[in-house]
Chain length 409, copies 2
Amino acid sequence: MNDAVAPVQFLSGVKIVDLSQFEAGPSCTEALAWLGADVVKIENPKMGDPGRRLRPGQPDTDPYYFHVFNANKRSMTVNLKSPKGLALVKDMLRQADVCIENFAPGAIERLGLGYDVVRELNPGIIYAQIKGFGEGSPYEKNLAFDMIAQACGGTFSVTGEPDGPPTRPGISLGDTGTGMTMAITILAALYKRRETGEGHRLQVAMQDAIMHYMRINFATQGLTGKAAQRGGSKVVGINNAPMGLYPCAPGGPNDYVYIMTSRANPEHWDRLLKVVGREDLIGDARYLTPMDRVQREAEVDEVIAAWTRTHSKHDAMRAVGEAGIPAGAVLDTMELQNDASFEQRGIMQVMKHPVHRDFKMPGWPVRVDGKPPMLTSSPVLGEHTGAVLGEWLGLNAQAVEALRADGAV
Amino acid sequence: MNDAVAPVQFLSGVKIVDLSQFEAGPSCTEALAWLGADVVKIENPKMGDPGRRLRPGQPDTDPYYFHVFNANKRSMTVNLKSPKGLALVKDMLRQADVCIENFAPGAIERLGLGYDVVRELNPGIIYAQIKGFGEGSPYEKNLAFDMIAQACGGTFSVTGEPDGPPTRPGISLGDTGTGMTMAITILAALYKRRETGEGHRLQVAMQDAIMHYMRINFATQGLTGKAAQRGGSKVVGINNAPMGLYPCAPGGPNDYVYIMTSRANPEHWDRLLKVVGREDLIGDARYLTPMDRVQREAEVDEVIAAWTRTHSKHDAMRAVGEAGIPAGAVLDTMELQNDASFEQRGIMQVMKHPVHRDFKMPGWPVRVDGKPPMLTSSPVLGEHTGAVLGEWLGLNAQAVEALRADGAV
C-alpha cells in the first residue's frame, strides 16, 4: 500500500443503490465511494454498464474508461426485467440511503422504479436523477451526451480562437461537472436526514449544470452587455499584457508556458523583463502602464516569446515562477502521468485489478488529514453479487445460487 | 418570489467561517450557502474580498463577478491585523463547524490562524484549504490562478484544433471545479462528524483537482499509450462520422449545431439522411458502415452541412433531435439568458440587490423536490457585521459599536 494515501470512512455505513451508467452518474457515486460509501452498481448480467464497452466473446481491450469512473465500487448483476430480479432491487431500495439513475428520459419509470414507486418502498430515501435537459425544457425528452450538453450549456461558445469556430473544451464537464453538483446535493440531503429521517427527490440536467460552471462568463456579460466571447488562451474580461501562452523549446505541440502578469501588481512587468534579460526596457515609456502594453500587445508578446523560445517550458515556469510571477507549463496527460511527484503525494494512484493490467490514474484530489483517499479496483461485472445479497439482504449461498439458476442475478 | 424555486434548508445550523476570496474558495462555500449553511465571509474593512474589485472612491461598476460567487452569503468586516479583530475571529472559530481559506501559501499561518492554532481552539472543526499546487509539489509555494492551474493540470493540452496550439477552455474549471471537490469533502466530513464530533484538515490543490476532470483523457491515454490529443470539436477516442459541429444559418459566430451519430446505432445514419433530404444515399455502399464514413469524413460532413447551412441552429437541433439523433445548438450566454424557460424553471434567477441593478444569473442547478434553491443577494461589504456578532457571539449593539470605534470590525 502507498503510504501517501489512506482509506477515508466519512461515509461508512451509507448504502447506495447505483443504477447509473457511463459517466454523469458514475462520477457522482465514485466521489461518494472514495469517501467511504458502499456503492453497489446494479448491472445487467449480459454486458453490464455500457461504459464497460465489453464486446461479447472478445477480450476487453478498453477497461480504462470504466476504471476511471468506477473505482472503489461494488458490482452486482441483476436482471431488472425478471420479476425476481426487480423484487431483489426493491428489497435493496428498502435498505438504501440513496439511489441514483441517469437512464434516458422515461426509462426508470418503464422499469417500474420511478420515484413514486421507490418513495412508497422507502420514504427516507434520497432519490437522485441526472438527465440531459431539465423537466420543463423544450428538449426534456432528448438524449444528451457530454458534447451535446456542453454545446447547449454554453462552453463551446466561449472556447476557441476569437476569430475561429466554437470549440469543445477537451474535458467531459457535461458529465463529471454535473456529477459533482449532484454529489454535493446528495450529501447535504444526507446530512439533514440524520435529523429528520426524511427522503427527497433530487434532479439535475446536464445543460443546467454546465451553466453553473459558466457563471464567470455570465458575469462578463453583465459587465459588457454582450454575449461572452472566445479568447483563445487569453481570458476575456482581463485586459492586460503580457498574459497568455508563450512558445517554448523544443517546439512540440504542448511546449508552451502560460505567463500572467497582474494589472494590480506593476512590479510583475519589471521583474519579468529581468527574467527575460531585457532590463533595458524597464521604465521604457512605450510599455510603462498596463494600458500601454495592451496597445502594443504584439510587441510585448514578442519580447517574452524571444526568451521562452530558447527555454523548455519547465525551465521557463521555474524561472518566471521564482521571480514571483504566476506561470504554468502546459502539461499533457503523459507528462502528468510520468511525473513521479503525483504518485508520491497520492494524487495519482495505481489501480491493481484482478483481471486487467495495472493502471495509474488520478484519484480523489482532496487530502484528508494529509492523505488522499485510497484507490481500490473497479469491480469485475457481478463480482459482489453474492456478497451484497448476503450483507444487505441476509441471503445465504444457497439462496443466491437459486437466484442465479433463475436468471434473476 | 419566483414559484419555481424554494429555500433549501439541508444545511441549516451549519456555521461556516469563510476566509476565502476570488473564486476557488467562494464557489465552494456558495454551494453550501445555497443548500442552507450560514456562510459568513470575513472581509477586510477597506476593500473586502478582492473579488469585489471595488475601487476606492469610485462607483462599483463591476459587481457581477462578486455576485456570481457570493450569493446567499453574509458579510462581516474584521481587521485581522488588529488584536481585537483577530480575537473575534477566534471566538467565531470556536463556534464554527467549518472554516475555509484560499490565501497564498503561508499567509494563513502568518495571520495566526493556521491549522495548529485553530484545532486548539476547536478540535471539532473542519478546516479546509485550497491552494494552487499541492504540498510536496515542486511548485507548492507558487501562486496560481485559474489559467495557470488549467495549463499545469492538462486541460489546455486537450483543447483546441488538432494542428493548432493548446487552448484554454473558456470556463474557470481550475477555480469552480476545485471548489466542487472541496464542497463534497467538507459535506462528507460533516456527515461523519454527527457521529464522532471529530474535526479534520482538508486540503486540495487546483492542479490536482483539474486532473479529476481529466480522467477520461487519462483513460484514452491508457488505451492508446500516447498523450491525449486535441480534437477540435470532435471527441478524441470516439471514431465515428458524422460527429461534430455543423454550420447553420445565418452564419454568426455561434451558429452551429452539434450532431452525434452513434456507432452502436446504425439507424442514426439512415435517419439523418432522411432529415437532410438525402434518402438517395441510404444504403449507398460508400457510406454504409461507420468505418466507411470515417474514411470519407469530409464528404459525409458536407452532406450534412449542405443542409444545416440552410437552417437555423434551433431548427436543426429540433429536426435532428426529433428524429432520435443526439443534437445540440451552440448557445451563447446571451441566448441562454434570453431563453425564458431557464427562469421559469428556476435555473436562472434574478438577484435583487440593495445597491446594484437586478442581475439574472444561474443559481444552483439541482432541484430539491422539484425546485432549485432560492437565490438571495450577495452581501454588501460588512452588511451583517452586527447581526453575526449578535447571533454567533451574543454581542449587543453597544459592544459592536465599541469594536467599530476600535477599528476591529
